[in-house]
Symmetry: C2
Subunit: 120 residues, 2 copies
């Protein structure tokens, strides 16, 4: 049984990976949580304080209300943001970044810097 860079060859000469990324490795999992279209931008827009639904949708420009709703629901589930009903009758809702959400801002910033530094 010889090996090289994580690939083993068995006694019949068949090759196989020693440590295949069988299922989502950390990087894939992270991308699933933060990588969806608009998710990063939404989090980024919330960093300076709570924002109301329609304002958020307007600021995201290209995103439809449906997209914004969907992404916000997913982000609520993962605990990145919280939805708060500020008043009934005139209904008003704000979305706020959670402490957990804030822990992700650091590397969103790094991503942003990387993109800007390399003209991507």
């Amino acid at each position: 049984m010889s090996t090289s860079v994580g690939i083993a060859t068995d006694d019949k000469g068949r090759k196989q990976a020693l440590e295949p990324c069988l299922e989502p490795c950390p990087i894939e999992r992270g991308m699933r949580v933060l990588g969806g279209k608009w998710k990063g931008s939404i989090l980024w827009h919330l960093k300076d304080g709570p924002v109301r639904f329609n304002d958020l949708a307007r600021q995201l420009g290209g995103a439809s209300k449906k997209m914004v709703t969907q992404r916000l629901r997913e982000m609520e589930e993962t605990g990145l943001v919280i939805r708060e009903v500020v008043s009934d009758r005139p209904i008003a809702v704000t979305y706020e970044i959670t402490d957990f959400g804030r822990t992700a801002l650091g590397f969103l910033e790094e991503l942003k810097d990387w993109v800007e530094q390399h003209q991507i």
Copy 2:
């Protein structure tokens, strides 16, 4: 004309965003380059040295050859990896991370750490 958090109200009472993310802001652009399924993992697997196509596909476990090919082509185009034909007759090809590709590893590592620290 009153304003609040990037939203303006014009003289007829209509609201509009002042700085809508009209098109891909840095975070979206970065996600487009690094966020595709498997892209992060591919780059990560290449960080210790060149890897051959089939070995890479095996290590990625879940990914089909078609996906691996597609992602590698995209990553070649963005300059994250280079394809090198090591020999014809037995054909052998390796993929190697570029210097530019390496500049993205820092942020992938931060993503990985973030995921592991928060049990995502």
